[in-house]
């Protein structure tokens, strides 16, 4: 009786590691139990591709693809789907964009853009059945070649196809075959390079395990074309399953007479042997491979002679990669013209890539050449998970290079990647997010190649070791700029003078990271910091490293965990004097790097800070006493976070610091731009008062118009911290009706003037926190409907996801892909005309640029339009003092001294960076205070104290088990939108202590055996078993 269902169970390597064979066995049992064994056939196939989601089960004829199938899911699958026809929806893929379930596997975004030629049978047939291979069209091409074509004809087809070697070098395959064919030797050899040594590459493994016959057929066609009688497949020993499947495939082929004497009744005889490698990366290099095949030590020799003239046993030898051979039968069966119609001008056909790293859909993908990097990473790969941003893409493994986000529109081909300083290589693609240290990455690759060097030639043997040495020292904070110069020189020399491809390409990762990320190297060397918070020797803990103010997070959090709230406060005030404000509005860079996220979620550091600050305010804890007055005076223009911070740290050093504020209230953008429901006024004032009590004076309603006057008045240095408080406009028309305001004006109006007229319908343009703040404020002022129009996709909004979620809860509607083009209205605005956008090519920020779509324009009714699309600084004050001001009104300063082009005048915060965060401004203020101190003859840096780790007085092990992150109480939506009362509540005391105890104390120094403490050693051991 005919089968009704074919159930394909993926038995590629990754799925097997996820116990797909156990799933298959359970399927057999369940089918027996439901008496469906006659109707349903189970087929074990090779790798289906999306390895991230294994075990995978593909059910035909519907083509339904189930993911992450557990043994416990099988009973339901059989009873509901196979028996009753009801697909089990919870096991299906979800489309990220449409949030829809996608049943049919060809429609899953991961597969939609792929074109499977090399992997055509992988995941579709049983690799252990030569009959299924034949049923799917196998060995037709071999038959056609040996019975109807001449060897010259086959070579001509290969040449016309444009196929280039897929092992990495990209040499034209047809040309190589021709070289071997032309050799006048009766005996020739055909070899398949299945050594696949690049870390992370497993394309060849998938083909050998999932469709071994395609390689056999390719080799046989090649042997016929070049005149060879014997073939060898050199497989690395680390691929036992590939070896087993290949062996069984060879036996099956021989049994059917597809290998051996007189194939298809012609004079062509050919057979293949398997030879197993012994664990050396260098044996992927062709001359070393051939030496190893002959039983000699795997060591390369200079070329010429090339293997095509003198290879194995000095016979003319054709050596190609697994993927190259896997393309052959398709070219012969369907014709070179068909193959050449795929891909780009110089790079024809498809390429199999192994996608790994910080990307959602890791696994194997096959795409036509010419597919862009952005399509590969985003459309197929699903983008970068966990809210992280893409930093670079590494291609070509240890011989390759990295490509930063500006090049996402690059179509992939041998030429284009080479131009960017990378290579296609064997096909490994590693996606790197913001948490990657490019220096450490380069070090990792050099460590690999240095240890794999065969040792024959000095440049590679000694040169790579020296390069590794320098990279090690740089990552430990012991590097110098001379080291960097030497590193680069060594890299170029090793490339030019190494004997084989290993040495010639090993320096590539270093050269390419230097090309695009030199700043990171310099940060490690000059500033002894690792911006990505990876090189442990350079920071206290990842949280502290990522904090722009370098607050000692582990110390204060540990104090909190002990219940020592006042001590925690003291630690915080050492580097950040605005705990109340930051506890409400800080971006919390620390939480993005918190290692606790690897267990469940990051520690709620900002909420802990808020708890601590509230305690300090309620107990009226004072800041540290100011230093003894030294008689010098410093003027600070602006009382925002940069100015307040600078004033505070100057007072600590004994200076008389005076802040000149133009507005009637202090606080800068914190006071005018952040609504009270996020930052209550009393908290803002308490933080500022505390600073004033440490000896800082603030003069309100005192705008500064001439910096020179300040010097005349006796101030010896000036710090300009005027922020970026001018709202950017959007092109909406020549003259605008009333009711169109910038977000800055709108929010300032509420906080300074108390103005509040909004009307019923408010539309906000923009996607940052300012847009969200304007929208939620408008709601509280009585607007009946508030809409945010953002021109890109919602996922691209710069506003923090928390703010966006809270706004949506409150009823703010967010229309993405909506770009404003004009206003409607006479004297007063009545509506906003918007174009509907579509996602276009990627821009330099790695996001898709919005382009006009063919959907019609819409008009959003509006009684007020708030433009919150960015802010600029006004540079008049600095221009007046003869200091150069760049576009956007920003002033350039030396990153270390914070000095402008005029000695004595310093600047920091948004005035130099453009709109950024409160904590960045606080960090800038402190650096400026140190620089000003140095400028005025002081020591400069604050005395580095020996950092003491804070001990804990509770059982740490108890807190390494899973414990959900604490959530503070939130005001109910319906009540909170009626006023500006604070929305987010505070932890209770016990809650705060418990949450603080989730900290893993990453600041602890490592002990001899590498463990920080007993807790971390047991955690690491546990993680290994998970």
């Amino acid at each position: 009786m005919a089968g009704r269902l074919d159930v394909l169970v993926c038995s590629g390597g990754a799925c097997m590691s996820s116990h797909s064979l156990e799933v298959k066995e359970e399927l057999v049992r369940q089918l027996e139990a439901q008496r469906l064994a006659d109707e349903v056939r189970i087929v074990e196939t090779g790798c289906m591709g999306p390895c991230q989601y294994g075990p995978l089960v593909l059910v035909y004829p519907e083509g339904v693809l189930y993911k992450n199938v557990a043994v416990s899911d099988v009973a339901e699958m059989v009873a509901e789907h196979f028996l009753k026809g009801r697909v089990v929806e919870r096991l299906l893929f979800r489309s990220e964009t449409a949030d829809q379930i996608v049943r049919e596997h060809r429609s899953i975004p991961f597969f939609e853009k792929q074109m499977k030629i090399v992997l055509a049978n992988c995941g579709a047939i049983n690799p252990e059945s030569v009959e299924e291979y034949i049923g799917a069209g196998g060995y037709e091409a071999l038959g056609k070649a040996v019975t109807t074509m001449t060897p010259e004809g086959v070579v001509a087809e290969m040449k016309a196809s444009g196929l280039r070697g897929r092992g990495g070098a990209g040499f034209p395959t047809g040309t190589k075959w021709d070289f071997v064919r032309r050799e006048a030797s009766p005996k020739k050899v055909v070899v398949c390079n299945a050594d696949e040594g690049d870390p992370g590459a497993f394309m060849d493994r998938a083909v050998l395990e999932g469709d071994p016959h395609t390689v056999i057929e390719g080799m046989a066609i090649a042997a016929y074309a070049v005149g060879a009688q014997r073939g060898y497949v050199y497989v690395r020993a680390e691929y036992p399953l590939a070896i087993k499947r290949l062996r069984s495939a060879l036996e099956a082929a021989r049994k059917l007479g597809l290998l051996g004497d007189r194939i298809f009744d012609t004079a062509f005889s050919f057979d293949i042997e398997i030879r197993v490698g012994a664990g050396a990366f260098v044996c992927g290099e062709e001359t070393a491979l051939l030496a190893s095949l002959e039983g000699r030590r795997g060591v390369p020799h200079p070329r010429p002679p090339y293997p095509s003239t003198s290879g194995m046993w000095q016979l003319p030898t054709l050596l190609n990669n697994v993927e190259t051979y896997a393309n052959v039968r398709h070219i012969i069966a369907r014709g070179s013209a068909w193959f050449a119609s795929i891909g780009t001008g110089e790079s024809k056909g498809t390429k199999v890539f192994a996608l790994s790293g910080n990307v959602r859909n890791t696994g194997l993908v096959e795409v036509p050449m010419g597919t862009t990097l952005g399509e590969l990473v985003y459309d197929i790969g699903g983008g970068v998970p966990n809210g992280k941003t893409l930093k670079a893409i590494q291609t070509g493994g240890p011989s390759g290079g990295c490509i930063p986000v500006q090049y996402l529109n690059t179509p992939i081909s041998y030429e284009t990647l080479k131009e960017l300083g990378a290579i296609v290589g064997s096909g490994g693609v590693i996606v790197l997010d913001e948490d990657t240290c490019m220096v450490n990455l380069a070090r990792y690759f050099v460590e690999f190649t240095a240890s794999e060097s065969c040792g024959q030639c000095v440049p590679c043997r000694s040169g790579l070791v020296r390069m590794l040495d320098i990279l090690d020292r740089i990552t430990r904070g012991e590097g110098s700029m001379e080291d960097l110069a030497l590193l680069e020189e060594l890299a170029h020399t090793i490339k030019r003078s190494s004997l084989c491809g290993l040495g010639q390409t090993a320096p590539n990762p270093v050269l390419s990271t230097l090309k695009y990320f030199r700043g990171e190297y310099e940060a490690h060397i000059r500033h002894k910091t690792c911006p990505a918070a990876v090189c442990a020797a350079l920071f206290v803990a990842p949280c502290e490293a990522s904090c722009p103010a370098h607050v000692d997070v582990p110390a204060y959090v540990t104090h909190l965990s002990n219940g020592d709230f006042a001590k925690a406060f003291d630690v915080h005030m050492k580097t950040n004097p605005l705990p109340g404000i930051c506890g409400r509005v800080c971006y919390a860079f620390c939480e993005t790097k918190c290692q606790r996220a690897q267990i469940e979620e990051s520690v709620a550091i900002r909420d802990l800070k808020r708890f601590m600050a509230d305690y300090a305010m309620e107990h009226q804890l004072a800041g540290p006493k100011p230093g003894a007055r030294n008689g010098k005076r410093v003027a600070v223009v602006g009382s925002g976070p940069a100015g307040l911070s600078c004033g505070y740290f100057l007072a600590q050093r004994g200076y008389e610091a005076v802040l000149f504020e133009a507005l009637p209230i202090a606080g800068g953008t914190m006071a005018t731009g952040i609504p009270a429901y996020r930052l209550p006024r009393d908290i803002l004032e308490a933080d500022i008062d505390r600073i004033v009590k440490t000896g800082v004076r603030i003069e309100l309603l005192s705008p500064v118009e001439d910096l020179g006057r300040l010097f005349a008045d006796g101030y010896e240095a000036v710090f300009v911290a005027t922020g970026a408080m001018k709202g950017q406009t959007v092109a909406l028309g020549e003259t605008l009706p009333r009711g169109v305001v910038t977000g800055v004006e709108f929010l300032k109006g509420i906080h300074v003037d108390g103005a509040s007229e909004v009307g019923d319908e408010v539309v906000v343009i923009g996607g940052g926190n300012s847009a969200i703040d304007s929208a939620r404020a408008a709601l509280r002022l009585g607007a009946k409907r508030v809409t945010i129009a953002y021109r890109r996709a919602k996922a691209d909004m710069p506003a923090s996801p928390e703010e966006v979620a809270e706004a949506m809860e409150e009823g703010v509607e967010i229309l993405d892909m909506t770009s404003p083009v004009g206003v409607v209205g006479g004297e007063r605005v009545e509506g906003l005309r918007c174009a509907s956008m579509a996602a276009g090519p990627f821009d330099a920020s790695g996001r898709r640029r919005p382009v006009p779509s063919d959907r019609p324009e819409i008009v959003l009714p509006a009684s007020m339009v708030i433009v919150a699309a960015g802010q600029e600084a006004t540079g008049e004050l600095l221009r007046g003092a003869g200091i150069e001001v760049a576009k956007g009104g920003l002033v350039a300063v030396d990153p270390v001294t914070m000095g402008t082009s005029r000695p004595g005048i310093f600047a920091g915060g948004d005035a130099t960076s453009g709109p950024a965060t409160v904590v960045e401004a606080i960090g800038a203020g402190r650096r400026a205070a140190i620089a000003i101190d140095r400028f005025l003859g002081g020591p400069g840096a604050f005395e580095p104290e020996e950092r003491a780790e804070v001990a804990t007085d509770y059982d740490e092990d108890a807190y390494t088990q899973e414990q959900a992150r604490a959530v503070p109480p939130m005001a109910e939506v319906r009540t909170r939108i009626r006023s500006f009362a604070e929305v987010r509540g505070r932890f209770a005391k016990e809650q705060a202590i418990e949450e603080a105890r989730r900290c893993l104390h990453c600041d602890r120094q490592q002990t001899e055996d590498g463990a920080c403490c007993e807790s971390s050693a047991s955690l690491a051991a546990e993680a290994k078993t998970r």
Binding site: M1, G85, R86
Partner: protein, 124 residues
């Protein structure tokens, strides 16, 4: 082996692989809800499968669905063909199933007597 022998193997195996082929001309959907099964849908299903195998039809697939709803007319079978209106048969038996395969699927003539409804492709 000779090339002709390769072709024979291919033809034989292709039938086995047809479920994965995707080049389906006709899809037969047998309603297998509880009432369908009670009315004998399993036998109808087996008959379809058997007839298709006997006649080596490589472009026809048989699937099942849940409750069709019209319990009094069970077992219900839908015959869906590309570019043709969908034909819904009611009161099917194993014998009628075989007749549908021969007359409708192979020769293109709808078996009038058993038809419940003909659904325009667009309307759906």
């Amino acid at each position: 082996m000779k090339l002709e022998e390769l072709r024979k193997i291919r033809e034989r195996v292709q039938n086995d692989l047809r479920l994965r082929g995707g080049a389906t001309r006709v899809k037969i959907v047998v309603g297998m809800g509880t009432s369908g099964i009670a009315a004998g849908a399993r036998e109808v299903l087996s008959a379809f499968l058997d007839e298709i195998e006997k006649r080596k039809l490589t472009d026809v697939i048989v699937t099942q669905s849940g409750e069709k709803g019209l319990a009094s007319k069970e077992p219900i079978v839908e015959v869906i063909e590309r570019d043709r209106p969908k034909v819904v048969y009611g009161g099917m038996t194993a014998e009628k199933a075989r007749r549908v395969v021969v007359e409708h699927v192979i020769h293109g003539t709808v078996v009038e007597g058993d038809v419940l409804a003909i659904v325009d492709a667009e309307k759906e």
